[in-house]
Symmetry: C2
Subunit: 150 residues, 2 copies
């Protein structure tokens, strides 16, 4: 039901990175890290808040935003914007777990996808750009199978 690798690992790794960066470990932050570690795709701040509430570990929305800022700062999560008027965040995993997004413009369905050829090309292109590249993000828009049929 959940992806086989890189899960509990990510949360642990993130917690270590945070403490290395001088942050203390409060309960809200840990709850957020645990939740994120289990995700395989991007969540919005509101979704994070709701997911935590339904686990009976409520966290204020302001705190969600603050924690996400910290995590983004040290590159543990990446901001992903896919056109629903809000930002989504997802854990950064190098190697397996790295993926991009397909968005159905009709129903809003969000699906991850990966492609090795595309990754290689992006990496090659990155080397010739006037930018010290840290991340890339690819969003493909269209109509999902369900919507395309109807």
């Amino acid at each position: 039901m959940t992806a086989p690798t890189g899960e509990s690992t990510w949360a642990a790794e993130a917690e270590r990175a945070l403490s290395d960066a001088g942050y203390r470990r409060g309960g809200a932050r840990r709850a957020i890290l645990e939740l994120l570690g289990e995700q395989s795709c991007a969540l919005s701040a509101v979704e994070i808040e709701h997911a935590l509430t339904s686990r009976r570990r409520e966290v204020s929305r302001a705190t969600v935003y603050r924690v996400m800022d910290e995590l983004e700062e040290i590159a543990l999560v990446q901001r992903v914007e896919i056109g629903q008027g809000m930002v989504r965040y997802e854990p950064v995993r190098h190697g397996p777990g790295h993926h991009h997004h397909l968005v159905c413009d009709r129903c809003g369905l969000l699906q991850p996808f990966t492609d090795d050829e595309l990754e290689r090309t992006i990496r090659r292109v990155s080397e010739r750009l006037p930018l010290r590249v840290s991340e890339h993000e690819i969003v493909i828009h269209g109509a999902c199978e369900t919507c395309a049929d109807s």
Copy 2:
């Protein structure tokens, strides 16, 4: 000072497409089309409003949003989100003019870039996705030359 091709063309083409789609032509809409036709990269709603104001052709912000919605609807502009907490819009040009974006995460500099190899790869990948693809968007993040040096 402006790009050599596809300029006045785009605005004219857009106006025709709109009228074909049954829209009437009001002054505000035309002013926005003209402005967009001259752009080579993405603008936010606020930037559009300001640019028009400084040309002495003020347009209400609500109208900017409404017109951008119409234009997006008939695929004359594409929404681009690059992480400054707001949406940007850019004229869709097929063939020359199509490009992607580099964003400096430190200073916010936005630069267009193109790469044929990348386009070919994306097109190939698109064919094997479970989605009837209409558009793609690639954003590369990093530090621009100025910021990377400092």
